[in-house]
């Protein structure tokens, strides 16, 4: 089981791929997502989201504003302004 992760900003899709784990910062605190997580819709606080891809590399995305949605094993990090670090 893997997570299907997409990081999209208003201008373009920054990253898509399969991942083991996603850690993001919502306005109420950090949230870690593994497969089988319950559906979540959370507002992101400015900060970094870390995605651990299936091959073990860590993708870090700096997010200005936006939200995170988890549904099934699909995670979408949506931000107006974001960049990969």
């Amino acid at each position: 089981m893997v997570l299907n992760v997409a990081v999209v900003s208003a201008e373009r899709e920054l990253w898509t791929g399969e991942a083991k784990q996603v850690i993001a910062r919502t306005t109420v605190g950090e949230i870690g997502i593994l497969t089988g997580h319950e559906p979540v819709l959370g507002i992101l606080a400015p900060g970094e989201s870390r995605i651990t891809a299936t091959d073990g590399t860590v993708v870090t995305a700096r997010v200005e504003d936006g939200f995170l949605s988890v549904q099934g094993d699909t995670v979408t990090i949506v931000a107006g302004t974001a960049e990969l670090v």
Partner: protein, 299 residues
Amino acid sequence: MGAQLRVYRQKIRSAQTTKKITRAMELIAASRIQKALQRVSASAPYARAVTRAVSAVATYSNVGHVLTTEPEKIHRAAVVVFTSDRGLAGAFNANVLRASEELTMLLTEQGREVVHYVVGRRGVSYFNFRKRTPERAWIGDTDTPSFATAQEIGEEIVSRFVQSSAEGGVDEIHIVYNRFVSMLTQEPEVVRLLPLEVVEGVDAPGDAEVFPLYEFEPEPEKVLDALLPVYIESRIFNALLQSAASKQAATQKAMKSASDNADKLIRDYTRLANNARQAEITQQISEIVGGADALGSAK
């Protein structure tokens, strides 16, 4: 060389120079359309994700939101017009401005006061020329619009919308922009942006999709609070991008017909010039022949 002939030659040269310019502009526009279209499609995943999230929250929270509540009486309406900064794009700006004028008329007839927001230098000069100062204008960012501009516009109109109409706020907001249909067709599109009508499931891809029971972080109301302005921004950004792509397509079309017209002018004037040259030669011959005859008969 006769005077007539010289005039024609001059006109041919002038048409040739014009043609070189319009041809170059046509080629530039053609290459920019592709880039503009790529930006439109690159922003699609974002718009989809935002729309999905909004419909998901709207489905699961029965909270009324200020951005979705229909006001009892609409006193004032705002119209946001998306034009371009530069002209030479055929009917591009005329079309969108006409659509906005029609909308303004309609709203005025319904007894609403109409205020305008304008994007693009052409729209600004249109309004200034008619001594109707727009409420606010954004210029210089229509060729490759940035998301920051969309955010600025979004913030401005949302803040204006949440003001009460007694304090000068507006009760509804419309946007008018050129939608890119194809390379040959761009249609002015009029959309009422606010108050929002969140139609559950209709906007979402894969229509009759059932949303899972989301856990909201923080509460659903807060999430909706944060999401709706984002949704507005993404709609405005889409309008900006569509308008930019349409502008390039309109420019290409206008410049193509300008080049074709120049070709036609060159052809016509070349015919006339040939005619004039031949007439000149004929006249010279008849003068020589006439002169020789006169000399011959004088003997």
